[in-house]
Symmetry: none
């Protein structure tokens, strides 16, 4: 494929169709049965067409993952951007993550699966980077007047993602937990994430003992 052609195809409608077909299969039939053949069937084209738009299956997965991050970040923006109070915003962020993970389990799992194979998902996936920054910005506001380094905030944000992910996975495994327990788990998750920032209030001596 010539570079001109390739660039054109990147913007193509069919490329989008392929990705959305993949997304639909992912949601309906699950990660395991996401095959090129099924994608081709769904868009009512022959399988080789796909190779005009993606190098191979891995490339599709990565692009699909990107799409998932876009949709995820879209939820976050929609639900949380408007909130100005940092506690409220952080609560909304965690809640949105939580619900996204429940409602879109296949997407959520794909995001972590593909992320694990990348060198640096936070830079590779633009929308994940945006989310990280949004989280970071929120945590900064939460600190109030205290000055935190950018690096510190990013690290805490990643930790927040980790803590949320852990609870989400736990929630997956407790498949017959009652709604009350689930709701409690969500609340706790919010709490833990909120408290991540607290140790910044520790005295230097206490901090020393921590790290």
């Amino acid at each position: 494929m010539g570079s001109k052609e390739r660039i054109a195809r990147l913007k193509s409608e069919l490329r989008k169709d392929i990705l959305y077909a993949a997304l639909a299969i992912l949601k309906n039939d699950g990660r395991q049965s996401l095959s090129l053949r099924k994608i081709a069937d769904r868009i009512e084209y022959s399988p080789p067409v796909i190779y005009s738009y993606f190098k191979n299956k891995e490339a599709i997965l990565i692009a699909l993952c990107e799409l998932c991050y876009q949709q995820f970040n879209g939820c976050i923006e929609k639900n949380c951007r408007k909130l100005t109070n940092p506690e409220e915003r952080l609560t909304a962020i965690v809640t949105t993550c939580w619900n996204f993970a429940i409602d879109e389990k296949e997407m959520y799992n794909l995001m972590w699966e593909v992320g694990s194979t990348c060198t640096d998902p936070f830079t590779q996936f633009k929308e994940l980077g945006l989310f990280l920054n949004f989280l970071s910005e929120t945590l900064k506001n939460l600190c109030g007047k205290k000055v935190c380094t950018e690096e510190y905030l990013l690290h805490k944000s990643q930790t927040a993602i980790a803590v949320m992910h852990g609870h989400i996975c736990l929630n997956y495994t407790l498949s017959n937990a009652d709604p009350k327990l689930r709701s409690r788990m969500l609340n706790e998750t919010i709490l833990y994430v909120m408290n991540l920032i607290n140790d910044y209030n520790l005295t230097p001596h206490e901090l020393n003992n921590h790290y």
Copy 2:
């Protein structure tokens, strides 16, 4: 020993062989290339024998998962049981989990993968239940004289597992992090797990605000 018993024992032997073959393939070649054919090759039997011991591939995965939990719990027992000081023991538990996840990534991932498909992994997998109790017991000691309900301790233990898992997954994705950052992440994980129990020291009123 009657022939019946002998036969039963032999049967049980082969079952083990199958599982250990599966484990070896999992470790060496990875989850994706774990096939019945390969297992059969390794035990030098023909594929259909496997169906005498397991209903289908899924059943093998579940049993294999159990084996992984056994090995995992073995590590925990070996490294942590002897420690009597609760802080030390908890530190050892988190560290052991962390290292197991690094050294046996395939096993660790399988444990969560299969766990996600089960109704209740904590009761289905005996060794996971044992680990949960061990964690619970450790947390109890950490509380000192304060009285905590069994249920509370189990819940906190699950939360600890969640927090650890989150950090472990984050560690997986940060594939080019330097050892110093990784070491810091481990320390933080220990810290967070340790502090899980702290809110028990909150006043009832504060607790109310939490949940």
Copy 3:
């Protein structure tokens, strides 16, 4: 496949059937259209069966090449072994090669094609080694009472193969040459091969100038 099983299959009838099917396709349809699917069709089995007997297509080609060498060497043995006079025998060898290359062009080409990809075809393919030795033995007799080293004879034998191959390839390209020219080419080939051994009669001084 367990090793026991694999060994059994090496002797299996079906394995032979696969190879002879491949040979038939090679002869009839040519090297380019030799596919696993066609082989499976011809033996009236499904394609995956082939993988019970051969690791992959390359393994089939190598085994097929071996079969070609066997058939080739069979011709040589049949036509030449009985001749005791060294000139007559050498003449018969060259003639047999020549005719084999004409009658079994696809086989002949495959033998060189696969041979080119091997590290050392003369040891890898037993029958090619036998042919080399037979040639070497013949050249030795041609030398008469003069003593030649084994190494020298093997080298000359390889050279003989090279000279024959060159003429055979030339013969392939001259596709509209008349039979008289072809016959003359064969005679010349015999002559050149016969003379390969002549420089052994050179004085040491002359030999020095050669190498």
Copy 4:
């Protein structure tokens, strides 16, 4: 220059581009991965253009083969034309062939592969014809004052090509031969080619016995 001419020139340019793209792919990726798609990519045109210049893939291969012969003959001209002493020139010819075959294995193989499918490569490929004549002229000079027929010289030239090709193929198969052996093989090849002309010194009676 009229627009007609300009268009014709442009057309001829693109034809060249196609061939040189094919050549580059042949050299870099090998004969097997020479596809129309890849050629189109490389010239940054779409695949169908190629069909404006060539009937099908086979036609490209033939034209590519011609290009290879041009390059080959270019080497010969450059390295050998200047030498006037016939022995020196013949030595240079064989050496140049030998090195070309080593350095440009893919090209060399293609030349013989395509050559085998043509009716008469020596007339079809102009540069191969030139090479043949050059060889023939050299052999003629080697004969000295003796008179040889044109036909005889051409035949001997073809034979020389055959002998060289045989040794070159042998050199390909002996993939782990040491440089000393290879160098010896080259020397022998030179020697054999040089001696091809010698039997012209035979008496008519001896010649009769030969043919």
